[in-house]
Symmetry: C2
Subunit: 241 residues, 2 copies
Amino acid sequence: MDSKFTPGVRPLYQQVYDYLLEQVAAGTWKLGAALPSEQALGQQLGVSQGTVRKALDELASIGVMERRQGKGTFVAVNSEERSLFRFFHLCTPGGDRVTPSATGEKVTRRTATAADMAHLGLAKNAKVIEIKRVRLIEQQPIIFETIIVPATMLAGLDKRKTLPNSLYSLYHSAFGINIGSVQEELRAALADKQDRDRLSVPIGSPLLHIDRIAFGIDGTRVEWRISRCSTAHHVYSIELS
Amino acid sequence: MDSKFTPGVRPLYQQVYDYLLEQVAAGTWKLGAALPSEQALGQQLGVSQGTVRKALDELASIGVMERRQGKGTFVAVNSEERSLFRFFHLCTPGGDRVTPSATGEKVTRRTATAADMAHLGLAKNAKVIEIKRVRLIEQQPIIFETIIVPATMLAGLDKRKTLPNSLYSLYHSAFGINIGSVQEELRAALADKQDRDRLSVPIGSPLLHIDRIAFGIDGTRVEWRISRCSTAHHVYSIELS
DNA sequence: AAGTGGTCTAGACCACGTC
DNA sequence: ACGTGGTCTAGACCACTTC
């Protein structure tokens, strides 16, 4: 069979990688389902088994696939859950994951402040959309979020009736913007009046203050997010290797 | 030339990987120096160029090597600095790295508490070594550390006259223990009397409290470290992708 | 025994950097 | 023109899983 791919433009194995990733996103295979063998995929796509292998190895390295010797290659069951928790690190002190919900959104459109411009690399008088919301864990208000995005990059975001729990999936599906990496800066802070009102904690109690810049795949600054978290019953947990 | 390596036991490319990593650690090549070409290494070591490539690719992926098409493979200039900063994340709000120093060590040997046992997976009545010290950034006390390790695993650590700034390099060189990963839990806390004495901050000021468990390559728990950090002028900075 | 991924080899050609 | 790493192929054999 002729190759489905155009050689020369981009490496074949990257095209195979992209193709397989699309198929997973499109739901061609269920979560946990086995893919065709390397040989079969190579014949289907008109490339050698080694090329398929390189693509699969990379997909396995980013957690989308799971490979088991003697059995096959599988769509990782975590590949959906991962996207939810990729950048969400609050969990119980034991290390168990918790699922947050969002409430009390307040969306406004305004001119960028000096801080907005600095964090998002915007020009003077640029417009931004600001979202303030509280995130709940087990019905308790735990995180007070302020989210600021360039209005031109996400035009119409402020017109939406509802916003999903996971904004990054909306950026992807509605605006074609993929968050590739984030830079976070964490500090300890004391709760002020606004924190007290939103999180029901006493003024002066300790809060974890997180400044996050989210970058698109191409490195553009997409979002500045300030999270003020009550860490009385949850912790920011991270594993480094 | 015969292979330097024993086939069958571990994959050849892993043996090549280990060998090259040793050479870098031993200083066979200077930082930034070019390695022999893939072909040359393959002939030296008695394996094929493809096997060397796989080892070099993995070393590049963990940041030890840097590969440039048309030029060669180089020892990454950051590979030494990286080890210092691999698990140290305090920096200036701008994102610039700062180098900490350590002072005022107090080393004691005692029986493990319930908390020690839980964090390090120890049996009852096990002995631990506890190190308390303050870390300075630009002469200012910023972090108050409490470090707890199993006394049997690092026997004689409490007898040493001096301790280096980077304990993990000591664990490696003196005890043959390599830290492979760490699990960190971050909270916001308020300064108590001990914090005030060590860090010269008012009681009740906000501190970033970090609980870290360090794991050896084989997954054993090697160290529990509590860091209480003043984040008035520095932040815990991390990049995720 | 048959099928899967894992390792290893050998050789071809391409893209990049240097001379 | 030459040497480097980057890509791609084809084929061999091994280790693991299932039947």
